[in-house]
Symmetry: C2
Subunit: 421 residues, 2 copies
């Protein structure tokens, strides 16, 4: 009885929070006159259970290195993430209602202007590969206690970069990484490719080396169980949650034509009535364990000086190897050409801080972005032409003000006999 | 007995051709002093059986619209594709030996300077998504008899774009498309992520809706059987072929450090001795069936004139809809935002020539490139910022001299409330 009662209390708490997140997602987007409330409503139950039951995050100390990481890869569900910040007491209701207004920190898509946001998202397919970088850093150089949670939209799984992330996460066995897939069936212009075929999603993800847990994303007990299993798993886990876009509001549920549209005032009033708006409150979020990152050696590097002209890539390899020897916070990533870019020099010096990203430039740049989130100093290299594969990731990295170093070799007008490709 | 004898003859033919392809791959790269002979040797058996037993291609009439299509997604195996052209009688031995020389059509990576090459490859992960476009065009507007064969390297399966192609090929049920995966275990700098785990490759590919046939890529009878099944399959098929890099030459087989290196003259002499160089000859390649594409209506479009200013995307939608009504060779592709780019206007006019590519910009641009290979006139649209996801595909499309039209909406300094992402 006691257990059942505690479980009941816990589920009641989740239900209250989920309702508040829905209400606030609608309120702030209606106040803005734009935004993505229906994409927020589908994931509200998932995020309520995460925030109140599983996330370990000190919202008063966003810089705590032990904090979990939560990234909305589907950044357009920003009303939901801002509603979470409000529920956690990080922002006020007044600020919540500045959403999308000129000068507000609460932009249409989340950016690190907010201390609780690691990276800018909105351009789809980027949050999960960045999460791979944070999880990699947590596993290897940092040995950190944090867990990385990524909310992934179903539409964005059409992006190849998502599969680079599943591939890499599986290959590296990132047990500290959980992808929460919000399978709400509807994209911007209509049904997604796989709609509610959660078995197809799960089969693909498992084939890439992850655990996959298929649940009803509105069954709070099932969400609770899945999130608990995900944190405890020995492999990266995807929670494949079947959800309903616009869930909780009769005239929005599973309806086409509502993507990226705010409710008008009358519609919002009707929605809040259906949801049963109660007085908003602050919810407790578990604090992370006490933990500090290793005290990395940071000494001045012994850089070579050259009397004769030297190939830039040779000098690059020697320089990052020297940096790697002098500074333990420096990491190097390469896209399967380290023998050409000379990043292999770093690998010889600091093999535990060298990351082979294979031929996946989007994932490589995203991993670098993720690693700098947790204070590492990443150098990423490939042939210059191939960095354009990650063009949009580099653009978004700039919006994130990410502190990364990209080194493209074999640049210039022509590389000769190999031809223009 | 007669059957066994015929099969024996057939396998002898394949063996002879495979030997010649290996010999010529080594000869031309050694003459050039650079190139990728070992990446060619691993796929020589696969390509010998394809060329002599399954491809339907009139090398004297590269413009025959009924010709099959063969693309080396692993374009660095150019010595092999040029050796195939020589074996088919398309180029002379003299020209073969101009490989990688200034002024030669035989560049380091294949380009459409050669009439038998559809598109430039070399930047990895592009041939398969382009093949999806050719197969889509063959299936829908053209109802063509051709089959599309793509030689895919194992290293390049780390590129997300390959999974966009598997995703899209499976979704569209492209039974006229076969991916031949050359799983030779070694990339440029060392082992690939999955090495010889052909079961893992097959599981991933099957999860994306393809048939997968796992074979020993040096067992000529198995290759023959797999290629036959692939052409006859009702679904897109991947032949997952376990191969040995450098196969056929003792000091190259499965050896690291040989990627992208030509043999010197002594090494080449030794290799040719091992292979048993015989007098080169021309091999018969099956001709395609007689077939001509539909006689598409091509009338001048009735384009609207505007007295008042009009949003460019609205005008775009109306213009391509008018074009689609007037010209049956015009096709439109969109990356899941057709209600914003107004490409949906085209869909209403010509639904059978509208291609929903979902949020997969690389695959969308690649499909457009593939469709123009077979004479269609593609218009592809998404938000301008997201075309950068396909930056390298657009760069390669230019090298291919591809005739495509890309329309990016929502461009400019800022798009306002949605924020910078």
């Amino acid at each position: 009885m006691a257990t059942a009662s505690r479980a009941g209390t816990r589920l009641d708490l989740y239900r209250d929070l989920a309702r508040q997140l829905r209400v606030d997602s609608i309120r702030c987007s209606t106040a803005a006159g734009s935004g993505h409330p229906t994409s927020s409503l589908s994931a509200a139950d998932l995020m309520a259970v995460l925030l109140a039951g599983h996330l370990r995050y000190d919202y008063a100390n966003a810089d705590d290195p032990a904090n979990d990481h939560l990234i909305f890869s589907k950044g357009h569900a920003s009303p939901l993430v801002y509603a979470m910040f409000r529920a956690a007491g990080a922002i006020t209701d007044e600020e919540l209602l500045t959403f999308r207004k000129l000068g507000s920190r609460l932009e249409g898509h989340p950016t690190p202007l907010l201390p609780w946001v690691d990276v800018a998202t909105g351009s789809l397919g980027q949050g999960l590969p960045i999460g791979v970088g944070i999880a990699l850093a947590g596993k290897r150089p940092l040995a950190a206690p944090y867990h990385v949670w990524i909310l992934v939209g179903d539409s964005e799984t059409a992006e190849g970069s998502i599969w680079e992330a599943f591939d890499h996460g599986g290959h590296e066995g990132l047990s500290n990484l959980t992808a929460i897939l919000d399978i709400n069936r509807l994209g911007q212009r209509g049904p997604t490719e796989l709609q509610w075929d959660t078995a197809a999603y799960a089969a693909r993800i498992r084939a890439f080396g992850w655990d996959a847990i298929v649940i009803d994303g509105h069954d709070l007990a099932a969400v609770d169980d899945a999130l608990g299993r995900a944190r405890g798993s020995e492999r990266p886990t995807a929670i494949v949650a079947k959800t309903v876009k616009g869930k909780g509001v009769s005239f929005l549920e599973d309806k086409e034509g509502w993507h990226g549209k705010a409710l008008d005032k009358d519609q919002a009033a009707q929605a809040l009535k259906e949801l049963g708006a109660e007085r908003a409150r602050t919810f407790d979020v578990a604090k992370p364990p006490r933990w500090m990152p290793p005290a990395f050696k940071r000494t001045p590097p012994h850089l070579a000086t050259y009397g004769e002209p030297v190939a830039t890539r040779k000098a690059y390899g020697e320089a990052i190897a020297a940096l790697g020897a002098a500074r333990e916070d420096v990491v190097a990533l390469d896209a399967e050409v380290s023998n050409s870019t000379h990043a292999e020099d770093f690998k010889k010096t600091a093999p535990d801080r060298f990351f082979e990203m294979y031929i996946a430039e989007q994932q490589m740049v995203a991993a670098a972005v993720g690693m700098q989130v947790v204070g590492l100093v990443p150098f990423a290299s490939t042939f210059a032409a191939f960095f354009t594969r990650a063009y949009d990731f580099i653009r978004m990295a700039a919006i994130s003000r990410a502190n990364i170093r990209l080194s493209g070799s074999h640049a210039g007008v022509s590389i000769g006999e190999d031809g223009p490709s």
